[in-house]
Amino acid sequence: MNVVAKPELKSLDDTIRETIYRACLLLDDEKFMEWLALCAPDFSYRITTYSPEIRRPMTWYEQDVAGLKGMIEMLPKHNTDHGRLTRHVTVYAVDSDPARGEAKATSSFACYRTMLDGINSHIDSGETQLFLIGKYYDRFRIDEHGPHFIERNVFLDTRRLDKGSHYPI
């Protein structure tokens, strides 16, 4: 029994969990550049799902860091509704490999939209609706500065997104 290694492993797993939760707080606050600071330069981001209608996996969004930065910088030029997205996340599993400096995690999330002007602000503002649910499949690289996201696959169970969104989930 390795009585020394186990606390270290648990600590790393906790750090991974904390990084996922911190990422959600930054996304909820629309601090997208700070969110990207949690990601490695070779980070890749995808939103995927599976369509039982056409019986195919689908990728609905795919960007690297440069693409995400560009998308974020262009947000002010685009029309959107001004509801806020709130992510409720539970990290289900963390599998870390300290020797290789890598970890992966699976989290379940529900993303709510609190409306401001999505339909009729006089009536709907302040109402919170479930926007989508799914899982985060994350991969991390761990160095002396801690874990950094190198991959996030946002796999959606919800496939009817109605008016959609311009924001990362």
Binding site: S51, R56, G118, I119, R159, D162, H166
Partner: protein, 409 residues
Amino acid sequence: MTMLIERMSYDNGEAIPYVDSRIYSDRGIFEEEVEKIWKKVWLVAVHESELPEPLDFRTMTLAREPIVIVRGSDSKLRAFLNVCPHRGNLILRQPSGSLTVGEPSGNANHMTCMFHAWQFDCFGRCVDIPRAKAGYQDRLRKEDIALKQLPCEVAHGGFVWVSLNTKVGPLSEYIGPAFDIMREELDTEPLTIFHYHKAIIPSNYKLWHDTNSEFYHDYMHYFNRATSMQQKGYFERQYTAFPNGHCTVGSMEVKYDAYQGAQDRVLSFPGMPRNGWKMVDLFPGATYNIRGSSLRVDTMTPLGPDRVMIEFRGLGLKRDTPDEQAQRVRDHNTIWGPFGRNLHEDLLGITGQGVGMQPGSTPRRILHGRRENNTIHDEIGMRHFYKEWERRIGRSPNDPFPETQTAAE
């Protein structure tokens, strides 16, 4: 309103045409549209690549009627009413699948109504009625029963077209030359689907078709302003109107790299310039839209005067390598996916119109009056649609209730 508006004539070539907002919100008009339009004409249902194998099926609802499309053991696609002739139950319940998978109530290779286990083959013939002789004696035999078969054709890029009207004429008569502008792109080689999603929007279906039928709203899209409106050729794009309410929009060379992070297209379709962009708008509610590397096809299912489901499909070439298809997917999603630059804005636009013209709101005039020699900001596409609408509904779009004194203001 002080501008020149002629009240009784929708589009006489001189005044500013408008429609009465009640055509977008009145329950009675909506019911007339379902009966006089949606149950009468050819409608785009699915793409053939969604049912590639014999005994594959795909279900949907057209004008409230549950439909199933089945690829037969002879590989031919057929459309049936997806309703059991016994007690009116829905037969196939999943959006898609294969009849080769047996159901708890029935055998593989059959369509089985789970309620009383009546079974039908891929040709719609009834092949089993449990305890038929005991219950019906000789008054009813399975040979006398079949699912109602509907007119079904595969055309224009491999799409499956269905009509609820068993007396409808050939699809070619309904479409006429409307697809000539896109013939080479669609029909040189097989296409395949890579994207499907749907949206339900609290708005009238015609407002989505209006959006697809006018480009003046490009002011809403920064992406289009940068890559198209500010580029050469944009204001020369031409609308062409065709019989039965269809119209097309001519191509231009889009400059994708004028938008930060976007790239000029690498892939295309046969006959299509890499950065070309052309559209076909089909009465009453479908649009084919090719931007260089991807074809987007919108189909609408009206759910009420103030509610519409829009299905969005993305397609490329069947022969694409996985890398090529991935590139088409990226190009498509940049603007047209549920997280894309343009689609979200378009859907917000008609959502706002749904608020402004909700059922019971005061009738008001909605202008359709831009005339620019049928070029891109001319609203000829909408006006052409509403002339066909008027012909089929028998009501004037700008004076739909002449029997009442209330007029749009």
